[in-house]
């Protein structure tokens, strides 16, 4: 046995080999450390000649996926309904346009179904059934509603908890088609956790485009409920099944989520107001309810740019952020007042439940007569004209195809008409002609 020694002079072949190798490795390590991985990784492609059997295998793959989807469709169909949803674009400036679409609904009990329902939307009917649909409770913050539907045995739902660490996989999207629920595959490359104040727990964002419509239900290829797609800041996100079903259970018991209320009327920030207030974004406080939470803290003309850290860019943002506030806990509002940015703290109250404010019966238009028609001078916020989408400087030329020449014509027609009467008004706005429908509530 050779003596234990690391001295090269007395070292054997193996020691010399080791020392040379270690030396070379150290040099190699230092040399390799000088390189950087290329940012745009390019995978080396297969040879230009297509493998002869690859196409056969690929076809078999699609056949298999189609078969799996058919099986998922059969498995989840008994749990699904399709609702006809109606809505009126009631946002100021929205024009009161009548909208309709179909949405899938998940039967969470034998006589109740869960559907994604945005504020202003109503369930009109169940596709393929004559029975009426009765709203049990809705949560406008999360955009959910539970409706009473004709009794049927609800299949037992299996649930799979999906996490942001899940590897790439296929899932089945169940969406509404013309004839009923329909499943199609969606490949999820990755899931990223995303915070959403509406849900209190992280959702899973998956991808950069709305490949799945909000309100679509997601199942595994084994028919287990994974969750529901919602839009989170314009991108699709997945509400986990457990969270979704817990919210549905609350609604099924008639307990909608308490919504915050600041006692404010909001108004869109127009370019003119933006210039005047030097606030490039946000929404304008149009009215502050006397004695309300914001009384004394906010004033008409204030521009709210953020609520509790959420950026406010539109009326929808403001309403959603307001409704998301937790009752009794101070909320911080970022406000522009007198061209100065200030921070205001307000304690929201709970919004009255199931008491939708009835649309105002007033027309809400102040006009002046011109040779071409009636020019809108002012639109009362929250009035029927405001909801119909009238704006100052609009020129009303016709009412129900008849030329209009005097304000009295319009006011008299409004006062004399019964509730529900509607008119079509031809309006010129910025040299463009458009038709606006106005309905007397």
């Amino acid at each position: 046995v050779k003596p234990f020694s690391i001295l090269p002079s007395s070292a054997g072949r193996e020691t010399r080999l080791l020392l040379v190798t270690l030396g070379l490795s150290a040099v190699l390590l230092l040399v390799l450390a000088q390189f950087r991985f290329p940012v745009a990784e390019r995978a080396l492609q297969a040879g230009p000649v297509a493998p002869p059997l690859e196409r056969l295998a690929a076809r078999a793959t699609f056949d298999e996926l189609a078969r799996i989807m058919a099986a998922v469709d059969r498995r989840v169909s008994p749990s699904m309904l399709v609702f006809d949803i109606r809505s009126t674009d009631a946002t100021p400036g929205g024009g009161g346009e009548l909208l309709a679409h179909r949405a899938p609904a998940l039967r969470v009990r034998d006589d109740m179904a869960l559907v994604a329902l945005q504020p202003g939307e109503q369930v009109a009917a169940i596709l393929g059934q004559d029975a009426a649909v009765q709203l049990v409770a809705r949560d406008d913050v999360r955009g959910l509603a539970v409706c009473r539907v004709p009794q049927a045995v609800a299949p037992t739902l299996s649930v799979e908890e999906i996490t942001a660490t899940v590897s790439a996989r296929y899932v089945a999207l169940v969406e509404a088609s013309r004839s009923g629920p329909s499943a199609r595959p969606l490949f999820i490359g990755r899931l990223d956790p995303v915070d959403d104040a509406r849900w209190g727990q992280p959702l899973a964002a998956f991808g950069g485009a709305l490949t799945a419509q909000p309100g679509t239900f997601v199942f595994t290829l084994n028919g287990e409920l994974v969750g529901m797609v919602v839009a989170d800041r314009g991108l699709p996100a997945l509400v986990p099944a457990s969270l979704l079903l817990a919210a549905a259970e609350e609604l099924a018991r008639g307990r909608g989520r308490a919504q915050g209320d600041l006692g404010i009327s909001w108004q869109r920030l127009t370019p003119a107001i933006a210039r005047a207030t030097e606030a490039p974004s946000g929404v304008v406080v149009a009215q502050v309810a006397p004695g309300g939470p914001a009384d004394g803290a906010l004033f008409p003309g204030d521009v709210v740019q953020g609520i509790d850290g959420r950026t406010i860019d539109s009326l929808a943002d403001a309403r959603l952020a307001e409704a998301s506030l937790v009752t009794g806990q101070p909320a911080s509002l970022q406000v522009v007042r007198d061209r100065q940015r200030i921070e205001v703290s307000i304690v929201p109250r709970e919004a009255p439940r199931d008491s939708k404010p009835s649309p105002p019966a007033t027309l809400g238009l102040t006009t002046r007569t011109t040779r071409e028609g009636l020019e809108v001078v002012r639109v009362t916020p929250g009035s029927a004209a405001d909801l119909a989408g009238f704006r100052p400087a609009d020129l009303i030329t016709h009412i129900d195809r008849q030329p209009i020449t005097a304000t009295n014509n319009l006011v008299r027609a409004w006062d004399d008409a019964p509730a529900g009467r509607s008119w079509l008004l031809t309006v010129i706005r910025s040299d463009a002609s458009l038709v606006i429908a106005i309905v007397k509530p």
């Binding site: 046995v1 054997g12 193996e14 493998p51």
Partner: protein, 393 residues
């Protein structure tokens, strides 16, 4: 029951394939390469035709870069078979850890010091390089580096007939004994890929518990079977459980197999002999499937090439350094140039890379598997050049 000693020397013992590809005439008639091959043949080492060098190219030919017969979709269906193959390999490692006397214990210590040294060198260098290179791995560089180190630490002395030379026999025995620590570390590394360290340690224990439970079930059943057919069903069922359950949970079938193999080895009775005899029939089909699948799964991606470099470059240094220390720990019972005997990589590293691929999926997992496959082929070629000295003691 007595056992022929050299049956334990290679995982699974000699078989028809070993006999078929035994050293004959070198492939090249003249030149330096021919001399190297003749030297290896004189040492009783395989000249060139290690199984990986035969079957991985076949897999490559059948895969997407060749005929496209073994497409990705077909390979997905092989996942369960591969999991069973991994469990079977783990079992063989566990069965090989049958220590008889202080000599074997000393070899075991030396072998595991050698493998730990290789893991440390490869993982350390790879980690440093991955951080410097800023490779977009999607998980901690240290975990990927550790996986590379584990895959690099496996070795096979590559003997043909080790009974003829005591030094060869000892080197082969060390090559068989040095897989325990890598499989244990590998099981932990695999769990680390999906869980934080504390939870990963728990999942590693869970893997061991799974192996122990299946081992216990097999121990109770094997010797109570009413005939060979029933016993075969028990054996297949046990191995399927050892492969399937950990693979389903994202754990290491290799570690589960190792624990079960250890249990059967040291539990009273003949469970180890039964499983060894029955699995020997399956061993080589599974190994061939593993190697062909490795070839077919190979993807020449940029990331794979960047992972391949540290694997090959520092594996040799790790093996030589580990072997240098291990040979001194055995006090002359092993060849002084033990590292040179341990350069051939064998199958365990590939098998572990398959586990990583099954856990991590098509991005990093596939890149790491491809790096290990390429590294295995390169190491087999290096082993042709780094020839051990038969007189080195």
């Amino acid at each position: 029951m007595t056992r022929r000693y050299h049956d334990d020397l290679e995982v699974g013992g000699r078989d028809a394939i070993d006999i078929e590809i035994a050293p004959t005439a070198p492939l090249v008639a003249s030149g330096r390469l021919a001399q190297l091959l003749r030297t290896r043949a004189a040492l009783g080492l395989r000249p060139l035709a290690a199984p990986a060098l035969v079957f991985v190219p076949i897999g490559l030919l059948l895969g997407r870069y060749g005929l496209g017969v073994l497409s990705d979709d077909l390979l997905v269906h092989l996942d369960f078979v591969l999991a069973i193959a991994l469990a079977a390999l783990g079992l063989f490692v566990g069965l090989a850890l049958d220590l008889r006397g202080r000599f074997d214990v000393r070899l075991l210590v030396a072998a595991n010091v050698e493998s730990a040294m290789t893991i440390a060198i490869v993982a350390g260098c790879a980690w440093w390089l991955l951080v410097r290179w800023d490779v977009p791995l999607g998980l901690a560089s240290s975990v990927v580096a550790l996986a590379l180190g584990v895959a690099a630490s496996a070795s096979s002395a590559g003997h043909v007939d080790s009974a003829e030379n005591p030094l060869t026999r000892t080197a082969t025995r060390i090559a068989d004994l040095d897989d325990g620590v890598p499989l244990l570390v590998g099981g932990f590394a695999l769990a680390l890929m999906r869980h934080p360290p504390a939870a990963a340690a728990g999942y590693t224990l869970l893997t061991c518990a799974l192996g122990l439970l299946v081992g216990l079930a097999g121990w109770l059943l094997f010797e109570r079977a009413h005939g060979p057919a029933e016993r075969g069903v028990f054996v297949i069922g046990a191995v399927a459980l050892l492969g399937g359950a950990p693979a389903f949970l994202g754990l290491s079938p290799l570690l589960a197999g190792l624990v079960a193999g250890l249990f059967w080895t040291y539990a009273p009775g003949h469970a180890d002999q039964i499983i060894r005899d029955d699995l020997r029939r399956l061993q080589h089909p599974l190994v061939v499937i593993l190697l062909i699948a490795a070839g077919a799964t190979l993807r020449f991606s940029m990331m794979a090439l960047w992972l391949f470099v540290p694997f090959v470059a520092f594996r040799l240094a790790g093996k030589l350094a580990g072997g240098w220390i291990a040979s001194r720990l055995t006090r002359g019972l092993a060849p002084a140039d033990l590292g040179a005997w341990l350069v051939p990589p064998g199958l365990i590293g590939l098998a572990f890379a398959f586990s990583v691929d099954q856990v991590l999926g098509p991005d990093v997992g596939r890149a790491l598997l491809s790096a290990v496959v390429l590294g295995t082929l390169a190491s087999e070629i290096i082993a042709v050049i780094v020839v051990p000295d038969p007189e080195a003691t």
